[in-house]
């Protein structure tokens, strides 16, 4: 599958708490090109996760349009969004969200079980995904037998095993030390440059954002500024 672009137009998102409207996104516009690696920064509670969830079809906007690839997400039913997610997006969470009772390989296999697929083909894909993230030899370990960095690698393998167009990462290095973070960021970088995945990564850490091609700043419900990372090309080729 080729990479997909992301286009958000005049997106509003508000939550209701005790009948009180809490606006989170207010007329946000965003365009991310196919194959781009974008970082999303902003103060805590500014709506970064909310934005990521809208792009990933986990949530729908109160108003406005969200297009990912050829799909117009705001007009899709919840069931259609579920099916769309399973094919087109890979999610990477801060807390990995691995199933503790399954091995690394079995965790990675989970998204594939939703498709009709020969088990040999499944095994092959799982092995490929695990070797891409550098865990080809840890396939039979349970999450509690892995380090945080290794757990996140398994989670990334799970996100890419269906070969999605878009990877959405919500503070993927938020729970890791600096060195491990660096490894994970390099891995995302490789997925972007070598496999052409469109990546949106939420982060607090400016150094992490430095791995992306562009950093978007979210504040008061809109993207108020952005910067293009000129040093990124060097980082990418050095890794």
């Amino acid at each position: 599958m080729g990479a997909a672009g992301i286009v958000l137009r005049d997106v509003h998102k508000a939550y209701f708490k005790d009948r009180l409207e809490i606006p989170v996104l207010a007329g946000l516009n965003l365009e991310i090109a196919p194959g781009e690696f974008a970082a999303l920064m902003g103060p805590s509670g500014s709506g970064k996760s909310t934005l990521l969830h809208l792009i990933g079809g986990l949530d729908t906007p109160t108003r406005g349009s969200v297009r990912v690839g050829d799909s117009q997400l705001e007009s899709m039913s919840e069931s259609a969004l579920t099916a769309w997610r399973s094919r087109h997006v890979g999610f990477i969470f801060q807390m990995y969200h691995l199933v503790p009772v399954l091995t690394a390989a079995q965790n990675v296999e989970l998204p594939l079980l939703l498709f009709r697929m020969a088990s040999s083909e499944r095994k092959r894909r799982v092995q490929t995904a695990l070797s891409i993230v550098g865990l080809g030899d840890r396939t039979d370990h349970r999450p509690n037998q892995l380090s945080g960095g290794q757990e996140q690698r398994v989670a990334i393998a799970r996100a890419i095993v269906t070969d999605p167009d878009v990877l959405l990462a919500d503070e993927p290095t938020g729970d890791l030390d600096a060195r491990t973070s660096e490894e994970i960021l390099n891995l995302l970088n490789a997925l972007n440059t070598e496999f052409g995945k469109t990546i949106v990564m939420v982060t607090h850490d400016p150094r992490a954002a430095g791995h992306a091609g562009r950093t978007l700043h979210l504040d008061k419900g809109v993207l108020d500024r952005e910067e293009v990372n000129t040093r990124r090309a060097a980082t990418a080729s050095a890794s």
């Binding site: 990933g56 949530d59 399973s86 999610f91 969470f93 807390m95 969200h97 009772v101 399954l102 939703l114």
Partner: protein, 394 residues
Amino acid sequence: MALPIRYHWRNLLVRRTTSALTILVVTAVVGTLTWILGFFLALQSSLSVAGDAHKLLIIQRGTTSETNSAISPEEFNRLAQLAGVARDPESGEPLISPELYWQTQLPRLRDGGATRANVALRGVTLRAFEVHRNIRLLGERFSVGEPQVIVGRAAAAQFAGLAVGDVIRIGVGESREFRVVGHFDAGGGPMESEIWMYLPAMQSAYLRNGYSSVSVRLEDPASAPAAIEQVRSAPIELSAEREADYWRNQTSNVRFYQAVCFVLVAIMSLAAAFALANTMYASVAGRAREIAMLRTIGYRPHHILLGFVMESVLLSLIGGLLGCVACAAYLELVGSTKDMFGSSTFTTMAFDIRLTPLLVGWSLASVAVIGVIGALPPAWRAARTHVLTALREP
């Protein structure tokens, strides 16, 4: 069903203690349920064996069982007029069997002879073996004129001192000694719980000259209503019933037991369903983030629902299998022969509870249903997990 069994299996293993306790509850329920089902199946088959459509049982009018019925020789002679009775193909004699029924007490095998229970004695002529076609001799028959008895299989399994060659004391003041010369099989029917001897020998032992009942073999089962009516009216004026009806009335108290047992089973099943529901609720609550992750990567609510139902059914089936094993072990250790008393006869009626594949199948099917019922409310909650809220949970 997208989630693999091993996922459910391991989730049960992880919650070892809870799973084990839940399984224990289910095991107890299924063990009891299987035994009760087996009991009623065995009873039913024993009674159905007694339901020979060709046979009528005739007793004194106004009585309900052989125990308190008395038929005089004159009354018996009047039965010769009865129409529709089958005849012996050689001698042409009507197949009418006068019988004397009495109860005595014998030590039970179950507690090593510490207690005694009623056992039925039946005095019969050789005609009885033509009327009661399901009697099969295992060994010798009593010799006419000798103080000998033959013993039904179930009676031999219930009471002490009924092996071939043993001597039992019966008659008024237990003054007469009779030797056991053989056993017999009645196809699992109630007569298998009786001791039979030659009618005149028994009459003399109990100083009686009449009978308790008369069994008649009809030529055609369809003539039963007419025959029953003829027996009831003048000049015979006795009471006749089909054999099946007679035994059903004798065990009418069974229906009460049955109702009590089924209420008990229902309550226990409900308890098992609650135990499963409780376990599954805890499991759902502890796995909210995992469910949210699965929903995020494309699992649908029905996958989640089925998954938790699956887990509960897995638990209940393990409990079910263990319950069947427990029931089998109980039958092996305590004995599979169950006795019970007829409502009006108070005679021991014994039958074998068998753990047949059908019975095991029924138990497992029931417990699977219990598993589904117990799982549905928590599984429903799991399926409706709010993904974004759960993902935000720390």
